[in-house]
């Protein structure tokens, strides 16, 4: 493997801010946090997928995939990350290397591709993604990017995270490393305010950031840079001037948050936009950090006032569903923070959580689950599709909330299902999002189709 990639991976594995790591011996740390994948029984994306997912929401950049057609051709424009301006990030660029490139090397084609993109699309920057095949044949994307940057006078950023170095989560972090190495700190904002924050690890899926932004706007807090949802290249480049940062979505970009704290003295906290209590806690943390960094104390007062009004409004709207949802059983199959962050809102609506998956959750996540659901909380570590099907079929749950991969398990069991992962079209962030989530659950549970699809055909009844 490319020595630079292995050094990066080692660096990422040793992430000190990750509490998994804090409990490990030096030897364990070196082995890394990547579980050995089991051939024939594996699911999930690769490191390239992870890096692309993490960076593609930077909307005005051309994202160029250097590799065979599979890596981009089979996967492009398949996520629901929203943009308020440029749509260039949804354009699929790939070198689509052929057999001759595999034999003679693909570097020339890569260089020419960057040139064509700059001539035709003139983006503020080009991100070049390494893939397995081009890594294996030894294409040096760092060198090509350096040469192209000099030649065209434009940032051409290498993202060295070929699929075979590990799973998606590792790719998230390697993508983040590319930003730290080549982008962050390279430009200056026109002006700064004491209310400037970064949001790290938020991808603006289904436009969720826009459910939260009005709250920050109302407080006068400016999102200097969101990494990377609805982000622009220059915003990421000058993000080092923020006063504080919030790290979203468990730990997918913890290395950016910690290293920016280290390098630019930007303190961060880990927060979530999912769930009412979490949204409020997030607003409080933002205010606290900004005040610590010199913003006027009164920000905290205004924040509390806003929280009081918004929480009351949200809970009133959710309580209206209580008579209809009381006692309905929910199976929650998701990862990380969502394994607990939506629980409070669901409980507020009277729903009972019969199980929550903790496959991707940290120890801290699990503690929070116990806190919310009691000591005997049913935590599911690794549920096979067959077990999920059985649980739904036997009506141990009334509805499953999960990602798109498992939706057909529920639907084929003729049970309601709601998408709460990245491919969803509904936004569930902030106070608004929780009300929407409860409304969607209600809509799903009370749809008249369930009764119809479960009723046997008349001739089957006659036989029985």
């Amino acid at each position: 493997m490319d020595a630079r990639v292995s050094a990066k991976i080692q660096d990422v594995f040793e992430e000190p801010a990750c509490e998994h790591n804090q409990n490990k011996s030096a030897k364990e740390k070196k082995k890394g946090c990547t579980k050995q994948l089991s051939p024939g029984a594996a699911a999930g994306g690769c490191a390239f997928d992870g890096a692309k997912v993490a960076l593609q929401p930077i909307v005005d950049v051309a994202h160029l995939v250097h590799g065979p057609i599979a890596c981009e051709g089979n996967s492009w424009d398949n996520r629901n990350s929203s943009s308020s301006t440029s749509q260039l990030y949804r354009t699929g660029f790939t070198t689509d290397i052929n057999e001759l490139d595999v034999i003679y090397g693909g570097e020339k084609r890569l260089f020419k591709s960057v040139k064509e993109i700059i001539e035709k699309y003139d983006p503020p920057a080009v991100f070049v993604y390494q893939t397995c095949v081009t890594a294996l044949i030894g294409d040096d994307i760092e060198a090509v990017c350096k040469k192209a940057s000099e030649k065209f006078g434009k940032p051409v950023i290498p993202v060295n995270s070929p699929g075979f170095v590990g799973p998606k989560n590792l790719g998230n972090k390697l993508g983040a490393e590319a930003l730290l190495d080549y982008v962050i700190g390279t430009e200056e904002p026109e002006f700064v305010t004491p209310y400037d924050i970064n949001i790290i690890g938020e991808y603006n899926l289904a436009g969720e950031l826009w459910q939260v932004k009005p709250l920050l706007d109302a407080l006068g807090v400016r999102i200097l840079s969101c990494i990377s949802g609805d982000g622009r290249y220059k915003e990421v480049a000058y993000s080092h001037r923020a006063k504080a940062a919030m790290m979203v979505c468990s730990k997918s970009m913890i290395n950016i948050a910690r290293k920016m704290d280290e390098r630019y003295d930007i303190p961060f906290f880990e927060g979530s936009f999912y769930g009412i209590g979490d949204m409020s806690e997030t607003l409080r943390e933002i205010a606290r950090l900004l005040v610590e960094k010199g913003a006027p104390e009164e920000l905290k007062v205004r924040t509390e006032a806003l929280i009081a009004v918004e929480e009351k409004r949200a809970f009133e709207r959710i309580a209206a569903y209580r008579p209809r949802l009381e006692g309905k059983k929910v199976l929650l199959i998701t990862g990380g923070v969502k394994s607990w962050s939506v629980v409070a809102a669901l409980q507020e609506a009277g729903l009972e959580i019969v199980g929550t998956s903790v496959k991707k959750s940290t120890k801290e996540d699990k503690e929070k689950i116990k806190e919310l659901m009691g000591q005997d909380a049913h935590m599911i570590d690794d549920m096979t599709p067959r077990e999920m099907y059985a649980m739904l079929k036997d009506a141990k749950a009334d509805i499953m909330l999960s990602g798109g991969r498992s939706q057909f398990i529920a639907l084929k069991a003729k049970m309601p299902w709601l998408d709460i992962n990245q491919e969803r079209h509904h936004a569930y962030a902030g106070y608004e999002g929780m009300v929407d989530l409860v409304r969607e659950i209600d809509k799903a549970l009370y749809n008249p189709i369930w009764e119809q699809v479960r009723r046997p055909a008349p001739w089957d009844v006659a036989v029985a």
């Binding site: 690769c46 590799g67 599979a70 996967s75 084929k412």
Partner: protein, 479 residues
Amino acid sequence: MATVIESKKACTVNPLKMSQPLGACYAFMGLDNCMPMMHGSQGCTSFGLVLLVRHFKEAIPMQTTAMNEVSTILGGLENIEQAVLNIKKRANPSIIAIASTGLTETKGDDVDGYLNLIRRKHGEALTGTEIVYVSTPDYVGAFEDGWGKAVLAVIDAFAQPCDRDAGLVNLLPGAHLTPADIEELRETIEAFDLRVQVLPDISGSLDGHIPDNFTPTTLGGTRVDTLRRVGAAAATLAVGARMDAAAAAIEERCGVPFRVFDRLTGLAAVDDFLQYLSELSGRPVPPKYRRARTQLLDVMLDAHFWVGGRKMAIGAEPDLLYALATTAAEMGAEVVAAVSTTPSRVLEAVPCAEVLLGDLEDLEMRAKAAGAELFITHAHGRQSAARLGIPLLREGLPMFDRLGAAHVLRVGYRGTRELILGWANTFLADEHVNTPEDWPLPQESIVAASEGSQASGCGSGGCGCASSAEIPETVASGT
């Protein structure tokens, strides 16, 4: 007839093409109780799986050998061995069908050799599970090639000479046929009192039916015992030029004669098919199809007002492009831009001056230059069509932003009827309403009308209302 050219660009923008191993695994989806698996890093499978899930809105069984950089360098024997044993233990399928990827082909894994070793070592443990392998590097060919190679590999693995059954035919559908298409062809063939075995049969597995129980493998499709009986058929019917090799392979091994229908969309093509079935079975064309034929004729008559003379841009894999473009031309439409993914003998027969092996950026630019009024390609054409401001009709895979991909019907009289109605209705919905400003007079006419002189033109020469050669120097320069 078209000249086929290849794009000269270094950078593919907005790919039309998908990769070979995905096409191969898609074909494997049409085998009953099968677990398709890509030999590559886990992302290869993950991307393909997501694409098919989004297209069919179905659970897609597909596994990976989860290669990492070390196992890639050392060779994938151990990973394939573990994967096969794991799958056997967890899912116990009838077939494990493996497609290689760019990664493992670059390294040069000898998978056939590995499988021999694995069979020898674990023969007993693997009883009841067949293993099929096809070589499909990502950096060669496209989706359709992968499908064709996979079908060929399955025939190679199972076809054997058997006693002939005069009432039995093989049907080899191309990658462009939907579950509904296959269902339609099956019914049509059965209407001639013939029995049909379909290979591969995605209509059994991806038609969206709800099974009584959960199964981790494919939910239906061609069974292994059927695969062993392809040699028993009286004839093989193949749909699409990509199926040439597979149909010929059955003949070579088992002596079953074959006929390849390059398309089964369009009046003449379907006539041909029914005539063939009638001759093969010795039965007349059933009344149901005679009636369907006149319904199609009626629709063609009604629709030609709206479709005739309209300009279409089509981007699709060769067999689908050929079926759509020829039908469009038969309706009097003009195919002004045609883009495809991989070489095929049918591309030269596409009714368009040129067929480009390229991407959706090429199709968009050509559509724009030629003033196309309808954009026809898979769902990824949505951004292009929006920029061009013309309607998009989704054809082929993936179709992730509309429902019912499995039920789209494009073959037979009924399928052709649906296709033509779709075009006509799109043009009807998009019909231009005339306004008072639609027919402005040229400047020349206005000047003529106001000044009463015919030959003066607008006077400047710059508007092109008269050729400058005819205008004296002094007038042309405005003095």
